[in-house]
Subunit: 410 residues, 3 copies
């Protein structure tokens, strides 16, 4: 019976990881539809193809390079060996972690929408998923003892409490969001976003229902993103689930109140709350999660407006405030609301959170600017002006998003 | 090993509830798209925002008030305490029950679509989720010993068999549907729904694919709604899953046959079957479920037509026949098809089912009329005529559902 | 404690099967949207209704006839008996297998889109799900000892290794795809697909985002299709999950490269990879899965073009290359890449795979041609010309897919 029992434990873990992986995989569909709804119709096909193709490329590059950088594990053994222990737990664990890694290009995609060259963005995706992301991931969750391990210098500095990021506010979202910022800056704004006198001319989004569908797909999968970050079934924590819920609710309500009931802000406010809670979802009290999420909602609405109107950065989906800034806020917030004095679980260090988060931003900026400037100076990262104007769907994919409508026009 | 075993039991229960909660959470996306597809384009944004915001408001009000009314449990302890037993099972159980509570405003939303004031409907949602629903919920599933407990007067009356509602045909759907009826009556029909001579002028729906998408999202999540009502993994019953399937199939086929192949009736017929099976899904035979679902499909088609054409009630999504009447039918049907003589599991009382269901209707009508009449006489529950005519999207959210199309018109 | 332990095992199995069933059920929504996006607007409603109704009909016919043919099991006992052992495991197992069976008409639906008579296609669906599919299914997975059993003549022939199809590359996809081919041939092309001189006039698809949504829904559910084919929780294999992932990625990348970045080919390429991996997902190495998927992607792109442009077969969604040919490739590929020499798990026979796959094609063609030719000569399988021209939505369902737009035209 003990053997049977252990086999049940293993089976439960494989199922747990596989469900988590599928839920986060489905979030990529959410990324796609969030972008489809937010860009103009002439770029909807491109949004869909980018997300799916980047996911496929990420699968390969993370398998062959990235995973080994972060965790020092290669999986080239025969299938029998891969399956031998734990019914293939490592394989589903890889799958789960891949769906996180692949979020990096999905986040960037939303910032550079409507004007990026296809193959250059795919190549950049491969670099980030294959090298940059695993490097930082390894420092927090993996084999590169630096920020997140109990024997790292950082834990030493703070008296034993390392940088904590349960489900990736910083590792995934902030890291991806700050890389996206570099991409958007190097690429420059879409034609027509500001007129010749520099006056803002917001470009209308195409489809609120598709944008909302993307948000729903992301929100739903996010519970897998956070809860299954436990890694094993027996590590599951109901607190993580409910904190995700409360942060999402906080993001929705804050965005509702300060955006004058704008559907884009409200549906992205839910996401901002979820971005911010990942790091501390196992540490904070539900009411702490509510505050974290609400502040993330405000950060997104105010940050987006500031980014667009003051900084004049044409970040189409607002992925820098949504993932970059809200993610950084989440990393730091874990160090505040995780304190026992605020009802949290304790064993968090604000200093470690600030330092760990700063490293993410620093590394993301360094990698991001380097990659995009080099690509810009060599192969080019941006569509020709006329291609941008007729839309990336026709320019890249030779089709429009609603082909029948086009045909019947004539 | 026994400790390990108990920990596995707890983990399994947390996962079970969390999966159920996420599946029912995703149903709210389904409520949103069902409404998006059924209303006119000028009210699609409002449909999306209402559902998401009402869900967020429900999260808070049910946490702070509702859950305590129904179950006598407050969750204000520090995170450590919340997690201490069962890895936070209570938290995910709360999450699961919240997704049920939040269905009340989601159901109402479909009835009052295209003409409701935003903040008034949100306020009403808070009252229903915070007070009315938990009151009835507590009587059936919770601490208010009245209808569903084995030591209630009702069980006494029927010789020990209390009112039975496994997954909420009555507690959720009928209760919500009858409140919605009061809202629709107090609010009155949309402008133009009947002409000046009282002739019916059905308002065309906007988008069949979105309506169908909503139905698919609802059907898929419904299996979590019903199966996870077991409450614990070890309480799971395969009968509940298959009865849901058969009731859905029955609803589809009945609606197909009597509606002349109408997509709206067929996709809502699936839902009607699922509404009706919740109560007895653990009690009836699959063939009983098929009959219950088929009759619910007929009830919906005939009920909708009767409601609209005879009673002249402008219930936009037909939520009264769909949830209110089909739900009541489900409550009663459990007392019939649950009998052992009909292949059911037995231990059901038709009398208890009729009484329990009647209480739901009575309480829903009392709360509904009171709340909506008071709100109507004070702050108003309905948009100004001109706001209704240009659409709630522009009037409330200052944006249309397809902003790019609007801009490119000029 | 042993009793408790066994009860946990049972509960886990019921949950496992139920999750698998729901995931594959959700794929049917994916079938619907894949077709909605690919057909013209005037046939979108019909696509949605066909898939949902065929699923409901399949539920009944497979319960009453098909399941008994394949497995020799009737489930007419009282609910108590159905539940007695294993908490209703058999019921959820039936549910899971039904979602496979119902894929047969869903596959056919995509081939014959835009021109099929409603009731004839539904009647054909009942024959295939009730008789033809269970016959072949029983030969591979069930009680009809012929191809897949260790004591079958085929296993005898190959020295003990029977035909292996883990999750249905052949049993479901190839079988369905080859029946669809017969339907498409008997029915003939849509009016206008080739002009009077036989020149190809491709008919534009209506909606790339809906097509892509369908693909996402299918991909997501597919992990349930493959992983839950284990049948019990303790049979779960992480290898199956990751092989599905790699085959999907391979399909995407191959389709991208050879289709010049076409969204339809790329999103269907993912599906082709998944179709092909089902059979050997428990046998091959992830890199083998990558190759299998990539070749399936190529098969789909080249096969579709060849089918349409050379063979002049108007298979609207390309279900023959997608399911029929890629599925056959998957059956055969299992016999190649499953070999230990290629890193696979071994215990596969290429001969058995070729023979087993050939039987599927033979039986599908025989049943398909017989059923469709008889139906064509008697009740007719195709809409009247004028009905086809105004669209099956108006002709069959008396409504269009975007009714509000139609009304506002006038």
């Amino acid at each position: 019976m003990e053997k049977d029992f252990n086999s049940l434990i293993d089976s439960g873990d494989v199922l747990f990881m596989m469900l988590g992986a599928v839920m986060v995989f489905a979030m990529h569909g959410g990324f796609a539809f969030l972008e489809v709804g937010t860009v103009r119709k002439k770029n909807q096909v491109n949004a869909l193809v980018k997300i799916l193709v980047d996911f496929a490329i990420s699968t390969l590059i993370y398998f062959f390079i990235g995973y080994a950088i972060a965790y020092g594990i290669f999986m080239y053994q025969p299938a029998k060996v891969l399956l031998a222990d734990n019914q293939g737990y490592d394989l589903t664990h890889f799958f789960f972690l891949l769906t996180f890694a692949a979020a990096i290009p999905a986040i960037i995609s939303g910032g550079i929408a409507e004007r990026a060259k296809f193959w250059t963005q795919a190549f950049a995706a491969a670099i980030f998923v294959g090298i940059a992301y695993p490097l930082y991931e390894g420092m927090v969750w993996g084999q590169i003892t630096f920020l997140g391990q109990e024997d790292s210098w950082l834990a030493n500095l703070t008296g034993g409490v390392p940088f904590h990021d349960y489900a990736g506010s910083v590792v995934v979202h902030s890291f991806g969001g700050w890389i996206a910022l570099t991409a958007v800056i190097v690429m420059g704004p879409r034609f027509g976003r500001w007129d010749s006198q520099g006056r803002s001319r917001p470009i209308p989004i195409s489809n609120v229902p598709f944008m909302a569908l993307g948000s729903w797909m992301l929100c739903t999968g996010w519970f897998g993103f956070n809860v299954m970050s436990a890694g094993t079934l027996q590590g599951i924590s109901g607190l993580v689930a409910i904190n995700s819920l409360f942060a999402m609710a906080g993001g929705v309500i804050a965005a509702l109140l300060i955006s004058k009931n704008d559907p884009g802000f409200i549906h992205n406010g839910a996401l901002a709350g979820l971005v911010a809670i990942c790091a501390g979802s196992d540490k904070v009290h539900p009411l702490g999660a509510l505050v974290i999420g609400a502040l993330a909602g405000i950060i997104f609405v105010k940050g987006f407006t500031w980014e667009q109107e003051k900084l004049k950065i044409d970040d189409v989906l607002g992925v820098w405030p949504l993932h970059g800034i809200s993610g950084a806020w989440g990393g730091i917030a874990c160090g505040i609301f995780g304190q026992e004095a605020l009802g949290g679980m304790g064993q968090v260090s604000l200093l470690a959170q600030v330092i760990g988060t700063s490293f993410a931003i620093g590394i993301a900026l360094a990698f991001g600017f380097t990659v995009y400037i080099v690509l810009d100076k060599t192969v080019g990262i941006r569509l020709e002006k006329e291609d941008e104007q007729r839309g990336s769907d026709l320019a890249i994919h030779n089709i429009e998003s609603y082909p029948e409508d086009v045909t019947s026009r004539f």
